[in-house]
Symmetry: C2
Subunit: 118 residues, 2 copies
């Protein structure tokens, strides 16, 4: 029998797929939304860890929560609590190990599109 | 005034987005479905032009039609009629011009995932 974590800590651990559970279709689905792609671009360009509130999306709080959850559940970001803040970081190493070059090519494509539409 | 095409021919022309209308989010959405990604992989690996019936998806005819339409409307494939057959080809040049390396990295990722799950 394993020793359960203290409930207060366990209640604050968010579920993440193991690297082996990350599916290409999920990653592409997560990145196919403009708002989520914007989050990924900002995580890639800025500090490695950024809070949801720092990323400040122009949508409601519940929509923001939804987008971050999709990114987490599809294996694109890792979310951890620090105090009252939820911190987000890209799972670059996992994605690179599974799908070499994919994230970088999507980021480059997003940049190309942003320039094209500017 | 432009001369309209013969109605019988015009009626069989399928609408395609111009290169400048192809959006990254649409391309990623189109590729995020396993069935559509399978079609794209087969178009990339096999003859440049393949009919819908040759690609023979394990789903209903209407679902097949839906998947091909999404791929066409998102700018991933070009569909043309030849006689009674609808022929499909990847819009490699357009995608490569817009998002260099993206299609190849998705195809490589799909291959990596197929190997991993074999």
């Amino acid at each position: 029998m394993t020793t359960p974590s203290a409930p207060s800590a366990a209640g604050r651990d968010l579920p993440h797929p193991h690297r082996s559970e990350i599916r290409l279709e999920g990653v592409l689905h997560a990145l196919a939304d403009p708002m989520r792609l914007a989050v990924v671009r900002r995580l890639a360009a800025g500090p490695a860890e950024q809070s949801c509130s720092a990323l400040d999306l122009p949508v409601s709080k519940s929509t923001t929560t939804h987008h971050f959850r999709v990114l987490r559940e599809c294996g694109v970001i890792r979310q951890t609590y620090r105090g009252t803040a939820k911190l987000n970081r890209l799972r670059r190493d996992d994605l690179q190990a599974l799908f070499p070059g994919l994230l970088d090519s999507v980021l480059a494509a997003a940049q190309a599109e942003a320039v094209r539409r500017a």
